[in-house]
């Protein structure tokens, strides 16, 4: 099955936050009140009960003046997700259409994924001692529906569909934007981290939207997961096997060499 993706177009988004509400409703997430922080964003970051947020970013440009950038921020459903790599309980899996889903029954709340994720997306839900994050409404998609956020978007800024088709559409859109007042417009999610399963059309460079320009999986993660975790640990059974060997051979050799020795009197040889 081809990858199914959300295409988010920041040039069309009106920041109505309908997607946030739809997400809360479908996933039955309680409201999380946060104090006013001096801008329109309801939350600085996603949290254990808020899978998607709209960020409001004020941008002052010497030529363009003030710009107000909106972005829907949630799990990017990386095609090669770091969270899945580090999870010691294999709680993460990819659906055949590209959603990265997390099984709370397997999760033990260790939070390895939170710090492996280049976007810091998986969040700890304290009351359950588990990690939560956007599910891409995999349950809805399995029934032939579109994700709740895409379903509700009144401005058509969010569109769910075939990844290849939406990528082509995004390219067309960026070409249009670049010649119509947004020369720095770009696509996010086509090349980043080898491909994200959420395509973003941005009217400016990613850093103006609070996104890492060149996200990367921290280097220690492949080192940790591909070398330390599977191989280094074998030193321990090796030490135990060495001790067991020595336990046997020392006693065999003791019987051979020194029949006259009193038990426990090994001072002639022993040295540790």
């Amino acid at each position: 099955m081809a990858y199914m993706t959300n295409l988010y177009d920041s040039s069309k988004c009106t920041a109505c936050r309908g997607c946030m509400i739809a997400c809360k409703e479908w996933n039955q997430l309680p409201a999380v009140m946060e104090p006013f922080k001096g801008n329109y964003s309801t939350h600085d970051d996603t949290n254990g009960d808020t899978f998607t947020i709209i960020k409001f970013m004020e941008e002052e440009d010497p030529v363009d003046g003030i710009r107000w950038n909106f972005i829907k921020f949630n799990c990017f459903h990386c095609l090669d997700p770091a969270c899945m790599k580090v999870c010691p309980q294999q709680a993460y899996s990819k659906t055949e259409w590209g959603a990265t889903i997390h099984d709370p029954d397997k999760c033990i709340g260790c939070q390895y994924c939170t710090y492996a994720c280049p976007f810091h997306i998986p969040k700890y839900r304290k009351r359950e001692d588990k990690i939560t994050k956007c599910t891409f409404c995999a349950d809805r998609v399995a029934e032939g529906l579109t994700p709740a956020c895409a379903r509700t978007c009144p401005a058509n800024a969010l569109k769910f569909g075939d990844r290849a088709e939406l990528l082509a559409e995004a390219e067309e859109r960026v070409k249009f934007l670049r010649t119509n007042g947004f020369p720095r417009a770009t696509i996010y999610g086509k090349l980043e981290l080898g491909g994200l399963n959420n395509i973003y059309v941005l009217t400016d460079t990613p850093d103006k939207f609070g996104l890492p320009v060149d996200p990367h999986i921290p280097k220690q993660i492949p080192f940790w997961q591909d070398w330390v975790q599977p191989w280094l640990g074998w030193l321990i059974p090796l030490a135990l096997a060495g001790s067991a060997t020595s336990f046997v051979t020392t006693r065999i050799l003791a019987n051979k060499h020194a029949g006259h020795e009193e038990p426990g009197e090994h001072v002639e040889r022993g040295h540790e």
């Binding site: 492996a116 810091h120 330390v228 280094l232 030490a239 020595s246 336990f247 001072v267």
Partner: protein, 229 residues
């Protein structure tokens, strides 16, 4: 079959480890092993049965943290009550020299039970010096990375990311040393007497003279002379 050499009260004995050192040692034995087995549930894939012993992953996590706090407290205890002992210990480690290198090179044969001649050793022989350098270093790394992972929100994310592999690597090397140390300090016929050094605090005088000749000379030889005089 005899596992550990008999504790001989009839023979003359000399003190090897004071009470503070012994309490710290055995405190760390218990807390380290608790941390190890509760931690392995995450390191070893499919260790559900191991987690079950501690009441599931939640229980294992709780015990891991409690044991870790006590492990830290034993370090503090050692520093507070026997700081001089730590300094002397480090001083002895810094004496790593030719005799220690010879010891380490010949040790594999001794380990298997072949008779070998080994040059006189200081308070800690070449192998013990290695263990004394690696294990505490690894445990300190474990403690630091552990608290970083426990309270990730108050540390920079980059540090938290490094803490995870560090904790694993330090765990493997510490456990490797602990396995060898546990065996050599007890069931290995040549070194078994050192078990009593850590358990009761004293070792046989003849054993000390033979195994740690330099240490014995420096610590007890003068007293012997005084007694003779």
């Amino acid at each position: 079959m005899q596992l550990v050499p008999e504790y001989r009260e009839d023979l003359e004995r000399v003190e090897r480890f004071n009470l503070v050192a012994r309490v710290t040692h055995w405190g760390h034995t218990v807390t380290f092993l608790l941390c190890l087995f509760t931690g392995l549930v995450l390191f070893v894939d499919g260790a559900d049965w191991l987690a079950a012993i501690f009441g599931g992953y939640g229980g294992a996590g709780l015990i891991h943290r409690i044991a870790a706090v006590f492990l830290t407290l034993f370090i503090v205890f050692f520093v507070v009550f026997d700081f001089k002992g730590i300094i002397n210990w480090i001083k002895d480690l810094l004496r790593f020299g030719k005799n220690d290198i010879i010891f380490v090179m010949k040790f594999p044969l001794e380990f298997l039970g072949f008779p070998v001649k080994i040059p006189p050793q200081t308070r800690f022989n070449g192998g013990e010096k290695g263990n004394s350098m690696v294990t505490p270093t690894m445990v300190i790394l474990l403690v630091i990375s552990g608290y970083i992972m426990w309270f990730p929100s108050i540390f920079p994310a980059g540090l938290v990311r490094v803490a995870y592999p560090t904790h694993d690597i330090a765990m493997v090397f510490a456990t490797l040393m602990v396995c060898m140390h546990g065996y050599l300090g007890s069931f290995h016929p040549g070194s078994g007497e050192s078990f009593w050094g850590m358990w009761k605090g004293t070792v046989r005088k003849d054993w000390a003279q033979h195994h740690h000749a330099i240490w014995y000379e420096e610590t007890y030889a003068n007293k012997d002379k005084e007694e003779e005089a």
